[in-house]
């Protein structure tokens, strides 16, 4: 398999071109040769006509009264020869040009009124034409007029034509290949530009691809751009999370280490610091490992995902005897990473199961106000979420170690993922008595 597009195109077009030119050359050559032979035949026919015109009958004999019209017939070895013979092959007249040249005229055909043309090979190849007539009142019944011409000048003309044809076609081929190279270079230029721009992106010399790509590459460039932006964001998020993780782990670690130096370490302080570290790890890791929205990613069925999570949670919370009410629209899809959606929905649904008294209600639907969004509503009959925590969770940039562990940390993780997907998270009160969380996510087919 050849790996260069340019090479592939060049090989293909060159092969097609070579075939095309060969056929063209062959056809032209055949046509020209045929026309040359036809010309020779025509010339010989004129000679025969002129011979017939110059023959007269006298007392039962044929007499060549006038001088022969064609001057080449009178020059010896001129290349044009003629002969008049009777039906037995007896020569009645021979052109002066044939006196010193041995011309083997074709065998006599007794069918009168028909021109017989033949190509006679030999030391000197010639074209022959003969014509038989019935001449009344003459001692011979039939008279055969024959003419012959050397093929040499005709062959020379054909050779000359072939040379010109070869030069012409060769020039055309060269021109075509040159044009093809130019076209390829010009046509593939955007790809080369793209490769260079990607290289620049890698080295950090540029932020995104330029916008001036031809129509065919627009889609690719756009997707590549999105992918790169997404990748950059992930990398940044990853780095930030690791920085935050390192930063917020070091303080409690220092506290723990120093506490252990005490004669009687304060256990409650140790436990507090361990809690803090646990919260940090949970939060930062979930933040760092989130994939985020990939526009070229696949669509995820929300009802399928919610159904799976609900079945799992019902197993885990079996002894709580929670009554579950669901309204899942099968056609609701979101585009993105399934694991991210699973994290968001898993945390929200688990909270509902954990904090409800006896009933949970889940609804998956397409937004009535904005068809480009899916809405997942999760309600329970628990104590609800305190105002202070709602503020804390939804306020972006909240220091994570300021959020209490438990319900808050899970919600904070969800809130961050939701923000990553340009979704929405609303915390309110349910008519069931507990919390109502409304999660909105971009619709799956939206691009």
């Amino acid at each position: 398999m050849n790996n260069s597009i340019q090479k592939r195109l060049l090989i293909t077009t060159t092969c097609v071109l070579a075939l095309f030119l060969t056929i063209t050359g062959w056809v032209l050559d055949r046509a020209f040769s045929a026309s040359v032979v036809a010309g020779a035949e025509e010339q010989l026919r004129l000679v025969i006509y002129s011979l017939m015109g110059s023959v007269q009958e006298q007392d039962g004999h044929l007499i060549f009264s006038q001088g022969v019209a064609e001057p080449r017939l009178t020059q010896p070895d001129s290349g044009l020869y003629a002969q008049v013979a009777d039906e037995l092959g007896e020569r009645l007249w021979t052109s002066p040009s044939a006196v010193t040249t041995n011309v083997a005229f074709a065998a006599i055909d007794t069918q009168p009124g028909i021109f017989i043309f033949s190509d006679v090979a030999g030391l000197t190849p010639r074209f022959h034409l003969s014509y038989t007539v019935i001449w009344e009142d003459v001692d011979t019944e039939q008279v055969v007029f024959s003419a012959a011409t050397d093929q040499l000048p005709f062959r020379a003309a054909i050779r000359q034509f072939r040379r010109s044809l070869g030069i012409g076609l060769g020039a055309a081929t060269a021109l075509f290949i040159f044009a093809q190279l130019l076209a390829l270079h010009w046509g593939l230029l955007p790809l080369r530009t793209m490769a260079e721009e990607v290289k620049e992106l890698e080295s950090g010399e540029r932020e995104s691809l330029s916008k001036s790509y031809p129509k065919e590459l627009e889609g690719l460039a756009e997707n590549l751009d999105r992918f790169i932006v997404h990748e950059q964001r992930s990398r940044k998020r990853y780095r930030n999370a690791l920085d935050d993780l390192a930063h917020s782990l070091k303080t409690p670690l220092a506290v723990v280490r120093n506490t252990l130096l005490d004669q009687t370490p304060d256990k409650s302080l140790l436990a507090e610091q361990l809690d803090r570290m646990e919260t940090t790890v949970t939060h930062q890791l979930s933040k760092a490992t989130a994939s985020g929205p990939v526009m070229v990613g696949k669509t995820v069925s929300m009802s399928g995902l919610v159904g799976r999570l609900l079945r799992a949670l019902q197993t885990a919370y079996l002894d709580r005897g929670i009554s579950l009410e669901t309204q899942l629209d099968e056609h609701v899809v979101a585009r993105g990473d399934e694991r991210d959606f699973m994290e968001m929905l898993g945390n929200l649904l688990e909270n509902a199961f954990k904090y409800s008294h006896s009933s949970v209600r889940v609804c998956v639907a397409r937004s009535a106000s904005n068809p480009q969004r899916c809405v997942i509503t999760i309600e329970d009959d628990g104590e609800g979420i305190p105002e202070a925590m709602r503020e804390q969770v939804l306020h972006r940039g909240q220091r994570l170690d300021e959020i209490e562990s438990g319900q808050g940390i899970g919600l904070a993780v969800v809130a961050e993922l939701v923000a990553l997907y340009n979704g929405g998270l609303e915390i309110g009160d349910s008519e069931l008595g507990g919390a109502r969380l409304i999660l909105t996510l971009p619709w799956g087919s939206a691009r």
């Binding site: 890791l285 490992t289 885990a316 694991r339």
Partner: protein, 223 residues
């Protein structure tokens, strides 16, 4: 109660085993999936704690294989990553509950007890049969509201019988589920425990002797 722990981190495995033993469990430990599968096949447990990230056979696969071989004991999975993907896969494979590391030992014991109770058909941590009440959380036994003093082994026998009601429990089975393997298996000890237990919980008479086979705890409804 006999529990199986499958965990590859030796430090955590030891802590878990120690805690479960101190809570009255007989414990078998396995450090990888293959060993876990062996124990799970060979012995009948009351519950198992299985870590998801295991060498040789991973946790999910181990649970699937155990369930495929009709091992019905409740399984609690431990996951370090805490991703929902892991939790859901674990539960879908046949686990009954999950716990994300790091966890409090009390939480694990409570979950495990709840699972055992649940699989025996009790909804509340207080197992109740007529006048007899056994509080699995406080490890207290009451008859008609009055507290009954039981030794640790008497309590274990009663708890096991109450969690396996209306079924003949042989002395061997009782020994298997109450003692660690290296414990002296003398069936007379069991007879003594049961005899004392019967006296202590009078007038409740729900522990029946099935001659030559063992004991049966009968529920009020079946009397």
């Amino acid at each position: 109660m006999r529990a199986l722990i499958v965990e590859d981190e030796v430090a955590l495995l030891e802590q878990l085993a120690q805690h479960l033993k101190s809570e009255g469990f007989a414990v078998d430990c396995a450090q990888d999936g293959e060993e876990g599968l062996y124990y799970g096949r060979e012995y009948n447990y009351d519950a198992a704690v299985i870590d998801l990230g295991l060498p040789k056979i991973d946790g999910i696969e181990l649970i699937k294989r155990l369930r495929k071989e009709d091992r019905a004991f409740p399984i609690l999975v431990l996951t370090a990553r805490g991703h929902w993907q892991d939790k859901v896969q674990g539960l879908e494979a046949g686990a009954d509950d999950y716990l994300v590391k790091p966890f409090q030992m009390e939480e694990l014991i409570a979950r495990l007890n709840a699972l055992i109770r649940r699989s025996a058909g009790y909804a509340s941590p207080v197992l109740s049969q007529g006048e007899l009440q056994l509080d699995t959380a406080k490890k207290e036994v009451r008859v008609s509201g009055a507290a009954v003093e039981l030794t640790a082994y008497e309590y274990k026998v009663l708890e096991y019988l109450m969690l396996n009601p209306n079924r003949v429990v042989s002395k061997t089975e009782l020994t298997d589920h109450l003692y660690d393997q290296d414990f002296d298996r003398d069936s007379n000890v069991i007879e003594v425990f049961v005899g004392r237990l019967r006296k202590k919980i009078r007038p409740v008479e729900l522990i029946r002797t099935v001659r030559g086979q063992g004991y049966r705890f009968v529920t009020e409804s079946t009397i």
